[in-house]
């Protein structure tokens, strides 16, 4: 039994890494721009479908590289035309707008690629377990961990060491001052949004290897992402990362003891966090609005 528990915790970290990837993109966008991106799942689905379309021509690896970039490009267009006018307004308007976008994305992917789930081909050598004992450590899941680690590492590196990253971090704390200091805030927001959507697209390509690829692939992934952000603490990307991992582990443990509650348990966790320590694991005091 304890072996099952251990396996599930281990596996939960892997799955949690995936949730973290999706949540980080959402968190980036929320922190800097105050935009609640309900269409994040739609961008995820788009990334997955773009990869699916590219694979017969370019193979898996190029698709993995290109699909998120294409998705991010679309994200930049959406930001420029639709989201930019909403900055400074009540976040509920961005909610309504991105909600509408989510509808459009689902419908368009269904129109372009059909409602029927399509088979997504991952390179064969990834599809095997690495060890007979730890059979759940498949090549694909390890690969996914690596990609997430690279992406997250890259993100944190960009934020810490580049000028763009520094500006994003500063802007998250006080955008007005950053603007007064001469930074082009519009471009900053656009790029930030683009990075967030890139992560959604990347999560999509990875998801397609794990899940069936249908227009609703992103639908069940968006709520856990919000939970990860809240549990980890609003405003803290590291917190979001931890939040994602925690979701994976808690769900995994629930599967051992109370399997039908694996979904509900993350909401219970969020509820407890909010009642006991609202700012989350790594959120800052005073960021209560």
């Amino acid at each position: 039994m304890s072996q099952v528990v251990l396996f599930n915790v281990f596996n939960g970290l892997i799955v949690g890494a995936f949730y973290a990837l999706m949540a980080l993109g959402l968190s980036l966008i929320l922190n800097l721009s105050g935009v609640i991106n309900f269409a994040h799942g739609g961008f995820l689905a788009l990334g997955a479908y773009l990869a699916y379309t590219l694979i017969p021509y370019t193979g898996f690896w190029i698709a993995l590289l290109v699909a998120p970039l294409l998705t991010a490009a679309l994200g930049l267009v959406v930001e420029r035309i639709l989201i930019r006018p909403l900055y400074g307004q009540d976040p509920l308007y961005s909610l309504l707008l991105t909600f509408g976008l989510a509808y459009i994305f689902e419908d368009m992917t269904r129109l372009l690629w059909g409602a029927q789930s399509v088979p997504f081909q991952v390179p064969q050598w990834l599809m095997t377990s690495l060890s007979s004992q730890y059979f759940f450590l498949t090549g694909y899941r390890v690969f996914m961990m690596v990609i997430v680690a690279v992406a997250v590492g890259g993100l944190f590196a960009v934020l810490k060491y580049t000028r763009l990253g520094m500006r994003i971090r500063a802007g998250t704390r006080d955008l007005d001052t950053v603007s007064t200091l001469g930074v082009n805030v519009r471009v900053l927001r656009s790029l930030n949004f683009g990075i967030g959507i890139y992560m959604a697209g990347l999560a999509g390509v990875l998801a397609a290897g794990l899940l069936g690829l249908s227009p609703t692939i992103g639908a069940n992934l968006i709520m856990p992402s919000f939970v990860a952000i809240i549990v980890g603490g609003l405003g803290s990307l590291l917190g979001t990362l931890l939040g994602g991992l925690l979701i994976g582990v808690v769900s995994g443990l629930a599967a051992v003891y109370f399997p039908s509650a694996t979904e509900a348990v993350i909401y219970v966790m969020m509820g407890l966090v909010l009642l006991v320590r609202p700012r989350g694991l790594l959120g800052e005091e005073g960021r209560l609005h």
Partner: protein, 419 residues
């Protein structure tokens, strides 16, 4: 008007609005004609076209349209042309399904109602159809209650009950693989009854449940359950899941290489999830409610051809469900020589479908007292591909539905006819 009142409402506004609303009720209606009522017969289809069940709903729609064309080519129902009125029930919103059912009945004046893929929505719609006394055929909603504890005189179902599916496959599994079963069951009525059905069917043959898990519907990751399943060391891991859950679970099971350690199987399987899996993940022993590759059975090849011409793909069980549903309306009306629901319902008791509609080796008929279609069940193995690229299922045994069905008493249906 100046901001005399910050919240924007005053007693005056209230009174004004109230009067306006009241006046609107009494004023003469500006009548915009609803969809043209005429001499034709209308069949209303209230099924998902968006959301998680969109693919299944669309395939049922194709089947309905094919039946419609054939019926109209033969002169329609009782000499009158037939029209299909289609509404999107959405995949999960019972309120919309009920709304659309009423729209079809009240506004479009349909004669017969078809739907729904989603079991809960079927039950909700059955409440409406029963209240309005409309003949209602459920093509593919699987919860046993539809022709069980919640059965109604005007509601008929084409697809099988979960008990039938379990009965069909249990013996084959025990014979081939062994007696120790681990269940990964979707946590809703469909999964519950399927598991209960399996245990009941397997028990007299020595089948034993070594463990199991209920998984939330819409689960993304099945690895935890698969880890537990493997640790329990069963002969067979039973995947009692529907739609996307089945796809995800199988995909992940194969990634774990689970098929080399235990046998993977289940009860109900459909072509749609198999089509969404990559070839190496198309494994396991399952039961399908209808399959297109039936060599030697008359009329099936024509049906497959006609579907291929229309959609470029082979028909699935869902296509057949839709096809049978529409044909049932036509045949019942012809036999009863009436369009009244009660006459048609009575005509359908023990009604046998003609071979070109049954499209299977065994007789297909609606069992009297239950309104449940008993046809054939196809036990077999999923395969990467067969003779053609779309032959994803190798049928090893065809079970007669009438033999696999539970008794009328066991179904729990106590049919109440209107006086």
């Amino acid at each position: 008007m100046a901001r005399a009142n910050p919240q924007g409402i005053s007693r005056r506004t209230l009174v004004r609005s109230g009067l306006a609303l009241a006046g609107a009720q009494v004023a003469a209606p500006f009548v915009r004609p609803a969809r043209a009522a005429g001499q034709g017969i209308k069949i209303g289809l209230d099924n998902p076209l968006t959301g998680a069940y969109a693919a299944l709903g669309k395939n049922e729609l194709v089947g309905c349209q094919m039946a419609l064309d054939e019926i109209n080519a033969k002169g329609g129902i009782l000499g009158r042309p037939v029209q299909l009125v289609v509404e999107d029930s959405t995949s999960a919103d019972a309120g919309v399904a009920v709304l659309k059912a009423r729209k079809l009945i009240d506004s479009d004046r349909i004669d017969f109602l078809l739907g729904n893929v989603n079991s809960a929505l079927s039950l909700a719609m059955a409440e409406v159809s029963n209240q309005k006394g409309i003949l209602h055929i459920v093509p593919g909603g699987h919860t046993d209650a539809v022709t069980g504890s919640s059965c109604r005189w005007n509601v008929f179902r084409v697809c099988n009950t979960t008990q039938m599916e379990a009965n069909a496959v249990a013996a084959a599994l025990i014979e081939r693989y062994g007696k120790k079963f681990y269940y990964i069951t979707a946590d809703y009525a469909f999964g519950h009854t399927l598991e209960a059905g399996m245990m009941k069917a397997a028990a007299p043959l020595g089948g034993v449940r070594v463990g199991g898990d209920l998984t939330p519907v819409g689960s993304v990751d099945f690895s935890s359950y698969l880890i537990k399943a493997q640790a329990a060391n069963p002969d067979v891991v039973m995947f009692l899941l529907g739609g996307d859950d089945m796809l995800n679970a199988l995909k992940q099971a194969v990634q774990f290489g689970l098929e080399s350690k235990v046998h993977l199987a289940g009860a109900q399987q459909e072509l749609e999830p198999l089509q969404g899996l990559s070839p190496q993940a198309r494994i396991g022993v399952w039961v399908m409610e209808w399959y297109w590759n039936q060599p030697g059975v008359p009329h099936v090849a024509e049906f497959v051809e006609a579907t291929r011409k229309r959609t470029g793909q082979v028909p699935t069980a869902r296509t057949w469900f839709g096809y049978v549903s529409v044909w049932t309306c036509a045949l019942a009306a012809a036999k009863a020589n009436s369009l009244k629901a009660l006459d048609m319902a009575k005509a359908l008791q023990d009604f046998h479908l003609p071979p070109e509609v049954a499209l299977g080796p065994n007789p297909a008929f609606y069992r009297a007292g239950q309104n449940q279609l008993l046809a054939s069940l196809f036990v077999g193995e999923a395969q990467a591909s067969g003779a053609t690229a779309d032959d994803l299922f190798k049928v090893t045994k065809v079970v007669d539905g009438a033999k696999a069905a539970e008794s009328l008493e066991e179904s729990g249906c106590k049919m109440k006819w209107p006086t």
